[in-house]
Symmetry: C2
């Protein structure tokens, strides 16, 4: 059995797994993400060494990283990974490893995982979005990962939907991410609670408005609290506004939603579908994409990175 290693490198954790050809995770290793390029390279090599300390044989390493990565595996910009500015990550790892290394953006490889083994399997044109702290995404076009001219494509959280809207994590104002991420849901909840409109959420946060996060909303929704579902329905409109624009631009046949918020399942997807339906061009006169939940959970990145390494090594 030949396997590949898939790694998912975020601002908090470096995760690696040996993944079989059928997408099964054979073994996993996790580390905290260190600061700086040299330390991160060492941590990646350390995880790879640990994973390779026993069978099965590994034939390539795929890496998804929360960064703008070009086709040469160079990291240009990684807002959550301090010290990684314009560094040749693939070259560095290639020198140290006797294995082919493939590197791409973390959201892209997660999308690829869902496209190969998950909710977008068999779908040639799909859009995958991750609703979490921010909004990530990946575009599957004609059965392949869409990467754009430099490798930077699918930064789908970063288009303006409200010129005077809230500040985005990237520094711009009113991006979709700033009104439709889990972070934005938390802000909406604090505003609602301050206005007396979210008693169950406020209670879940111990009565402290400033302590409210998106997690308190999802908890209250899952507990069946009407005020929380009402807030989620408003949030779902923000999600749908961005999705409709992306559907007009990209025309996917399926939209797959992942990230922490997808734990809400149909409680989230139902109002998203409702708000989305009328908003795409020619809505009543054309087939529209379906909107479904991702199936690989938080291993999508590792599994997708491993699949990409297998395909592109």
């Amino acid at each position: 059995m030949s396997t590949t290693i898939g790694m998912d490198i975020g601002g908090t954790n470096v995760r690696g797994a040996i993944v079989a050809e059928d997408g099964t995770v054979v073994r996993e290793e996790h580390r905290h993400t260190p600061r700086g390029f040299a330390a991160l390279s060492d941590t990646i090599l350390d995880v790879v060494a640990d994973l390779r300390s026993g069978p099965p044989e590994v034939i390539a390493v795929g890496i998804g990283i929360a960064a703008l990565v070009d086709f040469d595996g160079r990291v240009h910009f990684a807002p959550n990974l301090p010290g990684l500015v314009n560094v040749p990550l693939r070259d560095q790892l290639n020198e140290a490893l006797d294995l082919p290394v493939v590197i791409d953006n973390d959201a892209n490889v997660a999308a690829w995982g869902e496209a190969v083994y998950g909710a977008a399997a068999g779908v040639r044109d799909a859009l995958l979005i991750t609703l979490g702290t921010g909004i990530g995404g990946g575009i599957i076009a004609g059965g392949a990962l869409y990467r754009g001219g430099h490798g930077f494509a699918a930064e789908i959280g970063h288009f303006t939907v409200e010129p005077d809207g809230p500040l985005c994590a990237c520094g711009e104002r009113g991006h979709w991410e700033a009104i439709a991420s889990g972070t934005a849901l938390g802000r909406m909840a604090r505003e609602a609670a301050a206005a007396g409109a979210a008693p169950s959420i406020l209670a879940a946060a111990g009565g402290h408005v400033d302590a409210i996060t998106g997690y308190h909303v999802t908890g209250a929704v899952l507990a069946g609290e009407p005020d929380a579902q009402q807030l989620l329905d408003r949030y779902a409109v923000n999600v749908a506004i961005g999705l409709a624009g992306l559907a007009n631009i990209l025309d996917p046949t399926r939209i797959v939603v992942s990230g922490g918020l997808i734990d809400l399942g149909e409680r989230l997807l139902d109002p998203v579908r409702h708000a989305f339906a009328g908003r795409i061009e020619g809505a009543a006169l054309r087939p529209a994409p379906d909107i479904v939940a991702a199936t690989l959970g938080d291993r999508a990145g590792m599994i997708g990175a491993a699949a990409l390494a297998r395909a592109e090594r």
Copy 2:
């Protein structure tokens, strides 16, 4: 010499041309666009017959039409072509013609024209936008026309940039088209003139605020009027906001601007580039697309449709 016919079907005119393999227009025919599917089919066939009444030999017909067209050449939705709802245009024409017929969206074929013979020649990943009455566009991805899952992709004017913004021609509110088309420029000019801020534009419209259109702005800009250039600079920010979002999503290496407004040349592109530069993700830390003017003018649609017919017949 084998040639193809390229046609551009809009709400006002049906235009057809015989185009040589090198992109040269050999002969052209124009008609007014009639109302209804049957009349439009007849007009198309009439133009094709006229073009074929002499040499050279024609081997295929390509059609760009202002509509959502699927891969079977079926028109689902055409806001400016009354009576064209869910009609099998390609089948209809195939029955009447002894030539292969290829049909796509008008903006897509115009983009393909620029990609093959114009400002995007040799560029594998490009975004082409048309700033006119509305905003059209086409996406070149990996050297091919990007069509999405149904054939509806690149409706790039239709994503929300201002939830409470002006009404879009499509019926939604605050789409990019509603704040960055030539029509939107006219509205901005009327607002500025009503506030006393656009004296040269008001004078060009005979002193009647309600008579002001985008054409008065472009005329005043070309005449060197500072108040008109100032207005155009504000409008350029609206253009850049949408372009930056599209660049984050699609990552083109070149953006080609066409449509009536490109007559302004650098007077438009300079402020667009300026407003665009800082707005893309990781702006200072990565290569960015260049922004240039289209070169085929209003024949891009016919030339591109002819090229598509040649490639796909």
